[in-house]
Symmetry: C2
Subunit: 434 residues, 2 copies
Amino acid sequence: MRAIDIIAKKRDKGELSREEINFFIQGFARGDILDYQAASWAMAVLLNGMTAQETADLTLAIVATGESIDLSQVAPIAVDKHSTGGVGDKTTLFVEPLVSACGLPVGKISGRGLGFTGGTLDKMESIPGFDIYLTTEEYLSQLKEVGLVLAGQTADLAPADGKLYALRDVTATVDSIPLIASSIMSKKIAGGAHGIVLDVKSGLGAFMETLDEARTLARLMVDIARLAGRKAVALLSDMNQPLGHAVGNALELKEAIATLQGGGPSDFKGHCLEVAAHMLTLGGIAENIEAAAPKLNEALTSGLAWERFRELVIAQGGDVTYVDNPDLLPKASLIENILAPRSGYLKGVHARIIGETAMLLGAGRARKGDPIDHAVGFEIYHKVGDHVESGESLFTIHANDPAKLAEARQRLLDAHTWSDEPVAPLPLFYEIVR
Amino acid sequence: MRAIDIIAKKRDKGELSREEINFFIQGFARGDILDYQAASWAMAVLLNGMTAQETADLTLAIVATGESIDLSQVAPIAVDKHSTGGVGDKTTLFVEPLVSACGLPVGKISGRGLGFTGGTLDKMESIPGFDIYLTTEEYLSQLKEVGLVLAGQTADLAPADGKLYALRDVTATVDSIPLIASSIMSKKIAGGAHGIVLDVKSGLGAFMETLDEARTLARLMVDIARLAGRKAVALLSDMNQPLGHAVGNALELKEAIATLQGGGPSDFKGHCLEVAAHMLTLGGIAENIEAAAPKLNEALTSGLAWERFRELVIAQGGDVTYVDNPDLLPKASLIENILAPRSGYLKGVHARIIGETAMLLGAGRARKGDPIDHAVGFEIYHKVGDHVESGESLFTIHANDPAKLAEARQRLLDAHTWSDEPVAPLPLFYEIVR
């Protein structure tokens, strides 16, 4: 078997066999197949596509380049969730303690933010001492003892994924649905979850701008899970406007804490309860999502979910006084509340502009490894369809630089568009892909 | 400007500007743009294509990475020919002395064989002492003094072409018509010819198997020449069966010598006279191809063309006694004449099988730099449409290994297919692209 023949087959729109995909990915991981061959292949995949079977084979080939965590050692069934990324998406911070509190172990390998979307690890690192670098042994023992763990990916899991992603990033081959799907699913499968709820976002503030693209990605990921012997369900959710109010690391953590304590914005809470219900169902804790609702409600109102979050922070070395007193969390030096410049119905609250403006303030990073400012960000108070009176609070900016604050103010005013006529609210979810 | 944006633009079927192409090729030649980026770009070009303007810009960008020869210093107008490669294609060896003998200086930068097609330089190197490594100064002074020069490409001419070709060769991006066209034309343009006759072959023994592909390549190369301020004409010629009788380096040289001395197979001679007539017309020596015919006939029958070939050999250090006595040229140890196993009309004489079988004997190379055997090859006596009697000579094998001889015998018998009904002969040319 030769790498060049495999590239040529995909170039000519052929369907690669499992053996060919294994040969290519193993060779690439070992360094026998060179970067320029993988780059040419990736462009051929991007332009000519892959079938579900090829994508599943690719995913498992990537998984096989590293170790896999066997969660069965510590939990008979463990579930995970994955979001394709959005603006204000702090779902994990609320959902995972909630599901864990219902008796379902949750082991999550998470990522940092890149571009206009935030990352769960960055949000948790607003807590002094919180350590995301766990060994596999630490990961497993915490999952067993606490029932909840939230760590960064180790180099030992699916190493070919990291290598391939770094190459795609510099060769304009990121935007390929089969390559995105296999990248996501290789990490989930290597991470050992038996059931996976995929939160696939579409809209202005998501990587998939159209529902069609999101549906294709969701379908493919669910198929990969099935072909890999895992259970998965994908929820197609809206990302035209931010989720919840807070955008920015410490601000989002505070909002998650408030929600765990029974408050929080209703759109965020509603979104999370749906995701959590699917996790309980996949995990066999509830027969269906209707049956999951009272369990989730009980875990929340009893304070168990909040307690589970505190245990997570303590287990990973975080200073729990910071979550008990969120006012201690990093705070920006400049906080400005902006009032609505007019009365009317909100037609749009442009998630992409808001995400990019948060990056401008320092909340996100343009390149891997860039430092970020945990304190900065926004609170965005209204949703599409809301009627807002002139002079009402529209948003609050948390910044550490006056010039950037001024620029952010203008951009966020532009991100809000208005109508004199009533506007229909946006749904939380569009559809479910099983 | 960033390399990744240029790759993404081609990925998304955009048309690259001259500035973008220059930036990319200059960066690649300097090493600022890395192999994996060029590989991804090349695959995007292969799959999404390029316009004639883009291809011309690419050609000139490649030319600009090295020096260009200015032939105007030594000849007011110089012409060249280029063949896209075939089996038994020794056209250059006959045509260039003939055209030079008509008073038109011919400066040719030629290549070695790769794969199943032969290379002019390999054929000339059958002559002991013949040196293809000329400096630009030597090249120019020989063109001025002899009116004929035949050399290998120096690294200084279009160096980005060599670098890009080496990369395409290992990334399954060779078979792109715009990349093939720009590779060929960059060398021709850097070589300084004012007029270029392109012999674009199609059929079983050519890189372009269909006439449509050959036509597309021809159209593109002629357009590039025009956009680069050169004159060009492309002849679409047949390569389903070998050209002439001889296949193999010394054997082809002998056939070219015989043709220069007034003999030679009629198909080969007819093909060459047509190519030569177009060269004289482009060079302004003849008003049209009809007017070129008597001049060519005179140069041939007077012995001037043969004399010019001898001068070429002498000027480049070759031992002229070997061309004066072709029996001195490398000879194989095993020579076997194979008779027709049946009577009938020849339906096919499969050029590709014959070319690959010549490689098997050692006449060609699978990889750049492999050694070759100048002595081995075939003489194939009949053409498609010929009526052959059982027991007539069908072909002769020249080999240096009995096992390979036996394998070649069977393959060549298989390459000849038969019909009881008359079969139309194949044309020499299909059409002309101006």
